[in-house]
Subunit: 602 residues, 2 copies
């Protein structure tokens, strides 16, 4: 079994410096002390760690998942080494300002760096990624006192973090969480309740774990308006930062996942005895809003994780197809002629090209989202920051869902290309496929994102985000129509844009008439339609860069890189985009085949 190369350095360079203009960040005040060399060194450090400390136990962590003996969680030692290497490289703190002890690195550069680590071992990456998210939540919303106490532990690797939202009886419906918080005279709270599917909720990597817990303060309003956010450490922290008493948080058990196994999934009991000590973050009843910051970051992370798993399957199956002789072309009737490598078979090429279109399209989408996140914080004008935030808010449902769906579809193709070898654990592809199946579920299922998109994100602010995106797309299309190779694809995207537009207005019309349940019934189809148009746009942008580059004088290898971009764009726009036409027919008709189906008819 060979190891799979991690992503594709040339493609990451393309995304960062051609597709996005990440070097322009150096002109912003926050990044003036950096340089392209610093960015590239960061990528290299991440890649080195990924290869040395993460890739080495990807299969082993799957075959030897964490276990709980009733007292302690046992994990393979390589997971600890990986955590240590991540911490020592400073990646837990890299995004913070210099004066906070950070490296003041831009979001987009760190996302690119982290993508190498996810590609090497998505499951072991769970611990540092959750820690980053939890720390950001504290950084943004907690009091100075809480920040001073907990952030250092999460920046120096003394503690990991979690996001403890889900409960056994509520799943996606956060309005219905039952965990309660009882105010104490000293200003702290006592937390009671059970949380489920908490990733990294217990493990053996650090002595402490900082749980970010959603709970309802006694007497709070019903629904989402009564949810508060608490810091609830596994072990209480003394004022000098040392470990104090064990808090009343207990691991009830581990859940045994199909994939993603080296990230523990836990059931946690809060307050089996006197109540778990919790510290309110920010204001009471504002917890869901705070948590959404973490979730929105996590959603880009899920999208990117799904994309890189797709990428790894693509890399592996490409290498396999290039080196596996089998069969002959249909036109070759001489059985004594030599076998061809399977990359010569048209259907294998189809599955490779589809993978390329899905995974490079997904990477472009996630990198674009990261650049919007960056811009929403550091763009030089208030207007630009707001515009970036608005766009990001709109596309977040697709950023999470598109790679989750199509990264998995890519892995499905990779597995098929390997055939029997794809189906056995002696090769890595089936693990990518199993691991990636989590992504359409966590951080909001596909359906939740469809409802969010159509019910909130599109109509929000007088369709501000939607109109802004449309304007961006129209600019690209006008420009592309003047070019030689990409013009027909710009034409097709223009039609796709109109289809999206007429479908959107039709659905909003249904909702506007008060037919809420009918209008929202096919929202998942709308999410997919929107994703196809969005990714077609990002492919058109990539193709424009490629066409321009190919007009210059290039080495053969460089020329081939750009030809590949053109072919993938052509594939996506000719083969995948047109499926929106049938989706639009269903949506505009408010087709009720599913909606009208009755329980008793199943």
């Amino acid at each position: 079994m060979s190891t799979t190369p991690l992503l594709n350095d040339r493609d990451l360079e393309f995304l960062l410096y051609e597709f996005l203009d990440s070097e322009a960040l150096l002109e912003r005040p926050r990044y003036q002390e950096h340089s392209r060399e610093v960015f590239d060194a960061t990528l290299n450090t991440a890649k080195t760690i990924a290869e040395k400390y993460f890739a080495n136990h990807y299969a082993k962590g799957d075959a030897n998942e964490p276990s709980f003996d009733g007292e302690k969680v046992h994990m393979i030692p390589e997971t600890q080494d990986a955590w240590n290497a991540f911490v020592e490289a400073g990646f837990l703190a890299a995004h913070y300002d210099f004066d906070e002890g950070g490296m003041q690195m831009p979001e987009i550069v760190l996302r690119a760096a982290m993508s190498y680590i996810s590609a090497a071992n998505i499951a072991s990456t769970g611990y540092p990624f959750l820690t980053l998210g939890a720390a950001n939540l504290i950084h943004s919303f907690a009091s100075e006192e809480l920040k001073a106490k907990y952030l250092p532990l999460m920046m120096d690797g003394s503690a990991t973090g979690t996001m403890a939202l889900t409960e056994p009886n509520q799943g996606s419906a956060l309005a219905d969480i039952r965990s309660s918080a009882k105010p104490q005279a000293d200003g702290t709270y006592r937390i009671f309740g059970q949380k489920m599917y908490i990733s990294g909720g217990d493990h053996s990597l650090t002595d402490n774990i900082i749980h970010m817990v959603l709970a309802k303060i006694e007497g709070a309003p019903v629904g989402t308006k009564g949810i508060s956010l608490f810091i609830c450490p596994k072990v209480l922290v003394n004022d000098d930062g040392s470990l104090g008493q064990r808090n009343d948080v207990a691991l009830a058990g581990l859940l045994h996942k199909m994939g993603y196994r080296n990230t523990t999934s836990t059931v946690l009991n809060f307050g089996e005895k006197d109540g778990a000590v919790g510290y309110l973050v920010g204001e009471p009843h504002q917890g869901l809003g705070y948590m959404f910051q973490m979730m929105n970051e996590a959603r880009i992370g899920v999208g990117l994780g799904a994309a890189v798993l797709g990428y790894q399957g693509y890399n592996y199956s490409l290498d396999y197809a290039r080196n596996r002789p089998q069969g002959r072309l249909p036109s070759e009737k001489d059985p004594s002629s030599p076998q061809v490598n399977i990359i010569e078979h048209a259907d294998v090429r189809r599955m490779l090209l589809a993978q390329k279109a899905y995974v490079e399209g997904s990477m472009a989408l996630c990198f674009y989202a990261s650049s919007l996140f960056e811009d929403s914080n550091t763009a030089t004008t208030e207007e630009a920051r707001k515009q970036a935030f608005t766009l990001l808010d709109l596309i977040t449902p697709m950023v999470k869902s598109f790679p989750s769906k199509y990264g998995l579809a890519a892995n499905n193709h990779a597995l098929q290309i390997l055939g029997g070898s794809g189906y056995i654990r002696e090769y890595p592809v089936e693990q990518y496929y199993r691991d990636n199946r989590l992504n359409p579920i966590h951080e909001g299922t596909e359906a939740i994102h469809g409802l969010d998109l159509l019910g909130r994100k599109v109509p929000m602010g007088g369709m501000a985000g939607y109109q802004a995106l449309k304007a961006e797309m129209e600019t690209t299309i006008s420009e592309a129509k003047t070019m030689a190779t990409v013009a027909p694809w710009a034409e097709a995207l223009g039609e796709g844009m109109q289809t999206l537009d007429s479908t959107t207005m039709s659905l909003l019309g249904t909702l506007g008439k008060g037919e809420i349940d009918l209008g929202m019934a096919n929202a998942t189809v709308y999410l997919d339609l929107f994703g196809r148009v969005l990714v077609s746009w990002l492919w058109l942008k990539q193709a424009m860069i490629a066409e321009r580059a190919l007009n210059g004088d290039l080495h053969e290898q460089e020329a081939n890189f750009y030809r590949g971009k053109l072919q993938a764009a052509q594939y996506y726009i000719r083969w995948e985009l047109p499926e929106i036409n049938h989706q639009a027919d269903i949506l505009k008709a408010n087709d009720d085949s599913c909606f009208a189906m009755q329980d008793s008819w199943f």
Copy 2:
């Protein structure tokens, strides 16, 4: 964890006695001693065995897969009990004539019966199913002497059977197998070579295993025309039927699959010492033709296995959706209102209805194929037998591929409905999903069936099968157009039929011009298009029966059963069939986006 109900008795009854007229078989000479009661008793026996001996270790066989200690294969004991129960019920012999020691049971009844057993435990079913296939091959093509020696062992459960085709360096390309057979003075052969991915190639269930091996006799023609078929037992059999010396067949190792784990997948070495003793079946160099009989049977079996795995996921997720409260409808803004069961959510209903459409459509397809198989053997006129054979030959690529693709898609929906519970091994759905992923690979990958369909099955015999199927569909459509509810679906299928037709003629035109590789390039898309039209036809037929039944006076439960059929037909024809329009555009244009992609551009 609750157990999943096995299939749906009412639906099987519908398929056997309403969709097909299986009672009419009783008029044929072979079945005159049977009755509907005998058929139903056979189904009941199978269901009882399935529940008692197969369902009990579905999860356990997955968590404790067979292992090889270098000497012996170890398996959980429940697998042995399941094998014994299957044997004792007489199912290894049931399809043979009375005078051969069988029960003279019709194919379609046995397929229905076996579907309960597959549904209970697809992996443990591998051993008896392979034995049935191997024995049929001996029954059809071996000499009386070989039949007398080996068939009794495979009918009384003393030995299992395998089909040993694949080799490490050849995969799907049978023309290139390297295993050799050296003729001996006594008329036997010595076999040398390595076989891989041989299901059931070793195990602990029986003392002997009868391998049906493809190999080339020294000096044979190159390619598929030089392949012969041999019986090669693990242990030589004495003339009195007792076990003799160990043959030179050795288990090199087990392969570790993603799913389907309780069926061993093996690497076998033939002839490491003096050569494995093999007995030629039929004529030299005719082996591939013989093997195709087994493969064609096996392909219906794979299709049905994929369909029942889909069915089990549908059953489980339906039950879950009916009993899991979570969230509220989009129109319900009061957070203190009670949660609804998730079956009330439109997107969950979509995923349930899609599953119903896929799995009941797949079952109808496989049952239809089984009835054609039956008719090809026992229809009362030569013409009817020939017609059935021709139709079956045409549709076999879809019978294998459609359920494999959409049964898996159904499992994907089931997993998604369960959310986090779908992703963990504490629930059965992720195992269905893992197990079902094998089906698009074995017995010919999806691509192989696309090539077979477009390159052989459609043009064969002056398009005889194709024209016969078209005539059948047109008859259904004409009839359906006169009915109230189903008329618009008949209209849609009529258009779909025309689309299939114009696409077919366009592709055959390209091939006719000698552009073989280009014309065959998108054959997998053609396979999917054909499958959608075929399954739409089978849904229209089911809907016609439902509409007629609903015109009568029915109990509510019965009426709901038929309403469900109508709604699933509507869903399939409105949501899934129209995707052929875009597929047809690609195919008619001979779109070369994938075909023209170059290795160096990836």
